[in-house]
Structures are given as structure tokens and as C-alpha cells.
């Protein structure tokens, strides 16, 4: 059988991500997490000390997760980040759509950088193509998040902010989306079980 090699992936001389390149990921993750803390705490007024504590806690959990190579610990860091954001928003009289979206995107980037630094751990030779693909995927997610933010902002402008209608719409949207996702997962996990039986 003739095997054709991918044109963009030469078999020899394939550029590999140097170890120094991979060492940047944890630094990027921590840096972005700190940036999130700054963004949220600047939006808060009276609760600033409490907000800062939660955000520092989130940064610490993220850093600890990277240090011990624990994906679960990195995931848990999102909890205090959300709580800190809520405290910051509660304290503000203005509607802070922009700050929420910005903080959310930055926190997502920090989490992705942390998880990637764990996945592309020591001993794994990583090709530049993997970096390109992951960068494209992250950029796609952030772009779609921005679109969601714009759509939400447009939808909220049709109704008074913080109205019951907006809240109900939000909850309904989330629930419908989760039901669809759940059904899709159930369908694919059924294929998985069939494969295991074989």
C-alpha cells in the first residue's frame, strides 16, 4: 500500500516546538490569570478587597495545577474566578457586559494555556503543526465568544437591562443548549459502548 505523506508535514526535519517554547505556556497562563484579576478588581468598588482575594485564590489554584500537572486543580480555579467576578459586578451600578466578556475570554485563554502546558508535558516532542492547530481552535472559540457577546448585548438592548424577560431568555437558552448537548453526547457514547463491546 502506498502511503502518501501530508504535504504540510515533511517526515524529516519537521519543526518541533522547543522546550523553551513550551516553558512559555505556564508563564502565559499565570500572566493572563493575573490580568483577569486586575480587570475584575478594577470594575469593583466597595468589594475590591474581597474580589482581589478570590481572584488571587484563582491564580494560585491555576499555578498549583500547573506545578503538580493536575488538570482538575486547574479546572477548580474557575470557581473562585467566577465568584470574584460576581462580587465585582454586584458592587457596580453600571451594566458591565464588556468587562464580563473580557474577563471570561482572558480566563478561558489562561485555562487553555494551563491545560495545554500539562498536555504537552515533558518528554513529548511537539510539532509546530500542533501549535498552529491549537492556536486556530482557541482563536475560533474566542471569536465565537465575541459574537455571542455582541448578540447578547443586542438582545439586551431590546429589553430593559436586568429585566425578568432577559433572565428567562438567558436561562432558557442555556437549558435548551444543554439538552441538545446532552442528547448528542448520549448518542456518541452509545457508539462508544458498541465499540467496547466489540
Amino acid at each position: 500500500m502506498t502511503v502518501s505523506r501530508s504535504v504540510s508535514e515533511p517526515t524529516t526535519g519537521r519543526p518541533m516546538l522547543a522546550r523553551s517554547g513550551r516553558a512559555v505556556l505556564p508563564l502565559v497562563a499565570i500572566g493572563l490569570a493575573i490580568l483577569v484579576a486586575i480587570v475584575i478588581s478594577r470594575a469593583a468598588k466597595g468589594f475590591e478587597p474581597a474580589v482581589l482575594r478570590f481572584e488571587i485564590g484563582a491564580v494560585f489554584l491555576l499555578g498549583a495545577g500547573i506545578a503538580v500537572q493536575s488538570e482538575k486543580l486547574v479546572a477548580f480555579a474557575t470557581g473562585p474566578a467566577i465568584v470574584g467576578l460576581l462580587l465585582g459586578i454586584l458592587d457596580s451600578d453600571d451594566v458591565v457586559w464588556g468587562s464580563s466578556l473580557l474577563a471570561g475570554c482572558l480566563w478561558y485563554l489562561a485555562t487553555e494555556a494551563a491545560l495545554s502546558s500539562i498536555e504537552l508535558g515533558d518528554g513529548l516532542a511537539v510539532s509546530a503543526s500542533v501549535v498552529h492547530r491549537r492556536s486556530f481552535e482557541v482563536a475560533s472559540v474566542v471569536s465565537l465568544a465575541a459574537v455571542i457577546g455582541v448578540v447578547s448585548l443586542a438582545g439586551a438592548s431590546l429589553a430593559p437591562d436586568r429585566s425578568v424577560l432577559v433572565q428567562v431568555l438567558l436561562l432558557a437558552f442555556v437549558l435548551i443548549g444543554l439538552v441538545i448537548a446532552g442528547r448528542h453526547l448520549a448518542a456518541t457514547s452509545g457508539d462508544n459502548r458498541a465499540e467496547e463491546a466489540h
Binding site: 502511503v3 502518501s4 505523506r5 501530508s6 508535514e9 517526515t11 519537521r14 488538570e71 479546572a75 474566578a81 467566577i82 459586578i89 454586584l90 451594566v95 464580563s100 466578556l101 474577563a103 471570561g104 480566563w107 478561558y108 485555562t111 491545560l115 498536555e119 504537552l120 515533558d122 518528554g123 513529548l124 516532542a125 510539532s127 503543526s129 500542533v130 498552529h132 492547530r133 491549537r134 481552535e137 475560533s140 472559540v141 474566542v142 465565537l144 465568544a145 459574537v147 455571542i148 457577546g149 447578547s152 439586551a156 437591562d161 436586568r162 433572565q167 438567558l170 436561562l171 442555556v174 443548549g177 444543554l178 448537548a181 448528542h184 456518541t188 457508539d191 462508544n192 465499540e195 467496547e196
Partner: protein
């Protein structure tokens, strides 16, 4: 291949649900935008997910390598979805020098035994993996762990490719400048001088010209000094049957692996050299198992012998059989037996006496082992006395073998085999047995 979700999936779900509920409870819907990226990730990831398959083919770049060379494999992966794949080679034997992924080599480069690479649906991708050089022998390699990261990282599909491949690691080649000359030869033309007198190169004798003698054989110088015509007689070159006898007994309490390794290295070198001289070379392994390869010639015979030597295994129990069951074609009469052994096991030594008694020409390359340090013993004086007694017994054993015409050359790791061969040649010459 088994599919499972990564931490991103529950993280996305919990972020979305949690922020949405909190936003509704606190009356601040903008708080839900914090999880907008996770909603986007879920949307993109779930639309890209599906029942993806991954097929892989493992191939060895070279199934015969030398000690010091790396084992190189190429894994061709056929995905039916885009994403990125992690291929990790699992060394399955304890003989590897270092089984950890990514070994630094001289020069600072890192040879990968785990590689990740982006893949595109429907296009095969090749992963080049390598493992550090194992010790000599036959090794099974090729168990490759594959992990397919589906688009957007929500799911992974992992499995083990168990196509094993056999790689034969040859010991380092040795160029021998000296060979053992057998006393007994066959009738076939070769390079060893025979005791007979016939056409050949090496000078044997002079006699008077007789009818039927060729004019080319006339020795003009000798004839000029005498009053008759004299012809030169020569020893014809003949080939021989060489049988390599390997000792693989393990119940000797020493570092068996290294000593048997010495024997295998020497056997490969001797086999190559004698086969190059058109001798027939065979092999008999006596120890954990009794195996043999009948003598033969040519490149194919070298491969048979090498494969048999590389397949030498060390067994805790020894065979109860002796050389009597070895057929004549494997141990031909009048063959030259070269034994490679540490001479520690009485059964092997007894086999040497048996071979000598049955008329074989026998020589021994004694593979020296590292004796235990008497200073480290609980009672150093007693240990030193035991070592002296042991050395004395071995000296007596060597003398007994020498009396029966078995020459022994000692070979230690780190020395060239030529030294041991020279010692054997010298002892055979002194023993008074002429090779002619």
C-alpha cells in the same frame, strides 16, 4: 480505541450552568457572559465530535541493528477526523538502556520516543519514533500508544497498537587478525593446511621426480644441486567443520548475562571469520536448552547462526540432556569444537571431556567473569581463603583439560579476542600436537 472526555467538557458545562444560575439569582445577566467562551467551545466542540476512527500501521526501519544503534520505527496513522495525535512508544523489555521517553544523546539532541503531530481527516501521517539502543539479542518492539485529541479538545480517543516487531541487535563487530587452525580437516578445498601431501601452496617436502608428476612441480634449485630431478610437495588447503559450543548454564552465581554476552560476541566474530574462509560452521548451545544449528557455509548460514545466537536465552532450570542426542550432522566427527564458556558448570566441563574423548579437536575460550570482592564479605579472611581454594580447583581443572589436549585461552571483557585466540594457538602449538 476508547473514547473519553477531557476536563474541558465538565468545566465548560459547570461554568455555563453555574454562571447562568448565579446571573439569574442575582439579577445580573451580564455575569453569564463570563462563560461565553466556554459556550463557544461547547458549541464548536460538539459539532466537530463524532464516531471517529484511527487506524495505524507500525513498521521497523531496520530489523537488524548493531549495539549502539537506535531502534527506529515509523507509525503511519490514518485518521478520519482532523485533530492532533500523540504517539508514544512503549519499550516492553527490561533490556533497554533507558525506557524513559526522550533520551539525551551526545550532542544535545533529544531522540523522541513520543511525538505529537496535527493530522487531517483522510490523509495519512507518519510518526518517526526511536528508542535507545538495547543490549544484544532479539527484542520485541512496536507497542505504540496512540491518543487522538479531537477538535477543540473536548474528547480524546486512545488505544494501544499491539503490532509487535522483532528487532535483532547484533553485538559490536570484531575484526579478527588471528584464527584457530584446526588439526583435523575435511577433503573439501579450503584455507587450512592439511597433513596430507598434494597440490597446494604451503611447502611440505621434496622427492624424486616420478611418472605422472607435473613439470611445474619441479624444484629447479634443488635439482641443480643434486644429480637427479626433484619435485616439491605441498600441503593442500582444506576446509574444516567448526562447531561453536555455547555455555548457557545459569546456576553459577555470577553475572550470567554479561558472561554469556561475551560468549555470544566471540561466537559471532568466529562464525563470520571462519565462514569467510569457506569453513562449515555450526552451533550447539548447551545449558538451559540444548539447541543446535548444523554446519553450513555461506551468507545464509551466517544469518542462521546469528539468529540462533541472538536468540540465546537464560533459563533458571537446566536441561537434563547431554550431547549424546545431538545428531551427527550437527556435530560431525573430526569437527573442530570451539567452546565459549566461563568453565564454571561441571556439566559443561564434562561435555568437553566427552567431546575430546570421542575424537573431536577441542579448544576453549574461557570468558572471564568478575569475581565477588572478598573484602566486602562478612568474614574477609574466610572469603579470601575460599577464593584461593576455588582458584586452585579451577587451575586443576584447566590442567586436566590441557592434559587431554584441550587448549584454553582466557578472555576478559574489554580485551580484544585476538589475545585469547593467540593464547589458544600458542598452547596448542606447545601441547605437541601438530596441525599437520
Amino acid at each position: 480505541m476508547r473514547r473519553h472526555s477531557t476536563v474541558r467538557l465538565p468545566l465548560a458545562v459547570v461554568s455555563i450552568v453555574g454562571s447562568a444560575i448565579l446571573a439569574v439569582m442575582l439579577g445580573r445577566p451580564e455575569a453569564a457572559l463570563f462563560s461565553a467562551p466556554w459556550a463557544a467551545l461547547l458549541l464548536l466542540g460538539l459539532t466537530a465530535t463524532g464516531d471517529h476512527r484511527l487506524r495505524a500501521l507500525v513498521e521497523l526501519t531496520d530489523d537488524r541493528i548493531m549495539v549502539g544503534d537506535d531502534v527506529e520505527l515509523s507509525v503511519t496513522v490514518h485518521p478520519d477526523c482532523s485533530g492532533w495525535v500523540e504517539a508514544r512508544l512503549r519499550p516492553e523489555t527490561t533490556l533497554w538502556a533507558d525506557g524513559v521517553a526522550g533520551v539525551s544523546v551526545a550532542g544535545g539532541g533529544v531522540r523522541p520516543s513520543s511525538v505529537s503531530q496535527a493530522v487531517t481527516a483522510g490523509r495519512p501521517s507518519v510518526f518517526d519514533l526511536s528508542l535507545p539502543s538495547p543490549s544484544w539479542g532479539t527484542h520485541e518492539v512496536g507497542k505504540v500508544e496512540l491518543l487522538l485529541h479531537e477538535p477543540y479538545g473536548l474528547f480524546e480517543r486512545g488505544g494501544l497498537v499491539t503490532e509487535s516487531r522483532r528487532v535483532r541487535v547484533h553485538p559490536s563487530p570484531m575484526d579478527l587478525n588471528r584464527l584457530l587452525t584446526p588439526w583435523l580437516v575435511r577433503r573439501k578445498t579450503g584455507v587450512h593446511p592439511s597433513v596430507a601431501v598434494d597440490r597446494g601452496v604451503e611447502f611440505a617436502d621434496i622427492r624424486t621426480f616420478g611418472s605422472g608428476d607435473s613439470l611445474r612441480d619441479i624444484n629447479w634449485r634443488a635439482s641443480a644441486r643434486s644429480d637427479r630431478i626433484l619435485v616439491s610437495q605441498r600441503h593442500p588447503e582444506r576446509a574444516s567443520d567448526v562447531v561453536l559450543l555455547i555455555d548457557s548454564f545459569v546456576e553459577s552465581g555470577h553475572d550470567v548475562r554479561s558472561v554469556v554476552g561475551l560468549g555470544v560476541e566471540a561466537a559471532v566474530a568466529l562464525a563470520e571469520s571462519h565462514l569467510a574462509l569457506t569453513d562449515r560452521v555450526g552451533l550447539v548451545e548447551l545449558g538451559g536448552v540444548l539447541r543446535w544449528v548444523s554446519p553450513g557455509t555461506g551468507r545464509l548460514q551466517l544469518h542462521r547462526l546469528t539468529d540462533a545466537l541472538l536468540g540465546t536465552r537464560l533459563y533458571a532450570n537446566a536441561t537434563e540432556r547431554d550431547l549424546n542426542i545431538v545428531p551427527r550432522r550437527a556435530l560431525p566427527p573430526r569437527s573442530f569444537v570451539v567452546a565459549l564458556s566461563p568453565l564454571l558448570d561441571a556439566r559443561f566441563i564434562e561435555a568437553l571431556f566427552t567431546l575430546r574423548g570421542s575424537g573431536h579437536d577441542v579448544a576453549v575460550i574461557e570468558c572471564l567473569y568478575e569475581p565477588p570482592d572478598a573484602e566486602q564479605a562478612i568474614d574477609p579472611e574466610l572469603a579470601a581463603a575460599a577464593v584461593r581454594m576455588f582458584d586452585a580447583e579451577r587451575s586443576v581443572m584447566r590442567d586436566r583439560l590441557a592434559e587431554r589436549g584441550v587448549a584454553i585461552g582466557q578472555w576478559q571483557a574489554g580485551e580484544h579476542l585476538d589475545l585469547a585466540l593467540a593464547e589458544v594457538v600458542s598452547r596448542r602449538r606447545r601441547s605437541g600436537r601438530s596441525g599437520r
